[in-house]
Symmetry: C2
Subunit: 363 residues, 2 copies
Amino acid sequence: MATEPAPISFARGAPSLDIIDVEGLRAAADRAFTNDPAGSFSYGTSVGYKPLRAWIAERHGVSEDQVLVTNGSMQADAFLFDTLVGDGDAVAVERPSYDRTLKSLGGRHADLHAIELSEDGVNVDELEALLEAGTTIKLAHLIPNFQNPAGYTLSAAKRERLVALARKHGFVIFEDDPYVELRFSGERLPTMLSLSTQGEVVYASSFSKTVCPGIRVGYLVGPADVIAKIAALATGTYISPNMVAQSIVNEFVRGGSFDSSIATVKRALQERSTLLAQSLRTHLPDAQFSQPGGGYFMWVTFPEGVDGDALFEAAAERGVKIVKGSDFLIDDAKNAIRLAYSGVTPDEIDEGVQRLAQAYASL
Amino acid sequence: MATEPAPISFARGAPSLDIIDVEGLRAAADRAFTNDPAGSFSYGTSVGYKPLRAWIAERHGVSEDQVLVTNGSMQADAFLFDTLVGDGDAVAVERPSYDRTLKSLGGRHADLHAIELSEDGVNVDELEALLEAGTTIKLAHLIPNFQNPAGYTLSAAKRERLVALARKHGFVIFEDDPYVELRFSGERLPTMLSLSTQGEVVYASSFSKTVCPGIRVGYLVGPADVIAKIAALATGTYISPNMVAQSIVNEFVRGGSFDSSIATVKRALQERSTLLAQSLRTHLPDAQFSQPGGGYFMWVTFPEGVDGDALFEAAAERGVKIVKGSDFLIDDAKNAIRLAYSGVTPDEIDEGVQRLAQAYASL
């Protein structure tokens, strides 16, 4: 009897444990509990742990009242949507985009407009045409760096055009930027937040990808009046976010562990993405993809007619987990999948791709 | 020129730092990070950190699928209300009751029915009459032990009657029980959850009062189908609650720090409540109150016509913070205040009450 092969997951958009700085976290917790037990263990307020809020404000060159630190950035998204998006409001999203965001907006009965995404980011002409045709967009949700699921990055020129469009048409850009620190090739581009002049942008990021996901610390940066509204909503929801976790993150980022942790993560991601691309070229020549310059994800498309949902099933039967491309779309296209290389170790990659190729051949 | 007196706060429903087990928390964090780095630092699922969930299930004698661990119990309340309370639904609350709960329900446009609270708990006859008169109550929110703001405890007989009423009339009892562990006199009473036979009760509690508030770990226990619905809502809101914090709490409660921490807290609360009662009898003979057998709070009423809101202002001018009784009511009564003895140190109490008496005399 053949033994089951060990499962290999290209599905998890999360770091493997070997690239989490456990000792750095332990030391940060120890310092946090020594340096500020009152701040760590007492109720805080809904804006978050003050020293961490100050660190984030300084990093983005904004005032502290423009920052709110939350229990992970999904919670930040939920607060922002509750504040800005009403029933039936038009919201522009990328095509494809993060499935949880699509669901969250759909659950709030937003009228979603999916704008095609290319390797240099969302199709700004298409968005502009939609606006010029009279659609009043309330919010545009954009993941500018190493997008989830595509791995693509919005060009500098498009960032500038988008901020100008938002200013002209009065919509808010929600710049959802959890992967910004994970660039392993090419040059860092300015955030749309830094290009905004009249409060056009609300920016979100998180420490899930740079410290660890289990710490659940995310944040919003935006106009002070929007942040104040969200802070009131947050007070009524949970009084204060997790002070213990935010105090640990504060010590982690201020104590030198942050840069070394990011360097470790980036080195691992670059190695894994390179191995994944090589394996795909060798074993799955039908797979079309663009090798990302950072982040966790690769968007892999197959010739038209290939059923990515069926590939998902066939791969699962061979002990390989992937995510269906259709999860990231609000239309019926199916010839794509998302591969995450963040949660696989290097030695699993080639074996995983070989199994995926067998699954593909079986379709 | 006279110097300002140091402020004394009877407003904070939170433990003072001297009764938080900082070293126990440090040791628990160290063990958590050593024993289960993967579980502590990775994404979890919305039901919470599994070992802590198992501990809670065992403590309440329920199965694990009846437990959901959240980012503090206010967040648990919000999920429960979102799941069970629709626009215009009738909800019974205690009079007085916790201001944040009243606001949270009011914000969801619930039709609130305030049922008078006595020293032995809510007036069950009044609730029964309301039900018999044809009002379809969806949910009854009750804080059974050392109620916030009153400090009163629901009697065993009333607990049984309430569960029977819920069964007969088909409403859900929301047993909101954060103070249960803080009993310093009298005998522990059975939870309504333990008396329920047909899923009449959803129970909430938290580690804010037994470990520390900044850790933001609360939980719900209820029928598995209700918990599953809330788990889906929680996934869409924040993916998973704080795994680092829950893993620390898990080590804290399993490692022996829990009982000693509770013993420390109870000893301090008993001393403080006794001192507060003595000071009130000495300096403010008009104050009517019942000395609680546990918890943080004392509900102090004054003769009719006394304006508690004005007393709040006059006390503030003398450097004493209290909470207006009117914050805990949805009607216009004003002759009460809430005094919390959890956040004051023993040496502040008599001085604080003397200032309060001066404020009272100034009205």
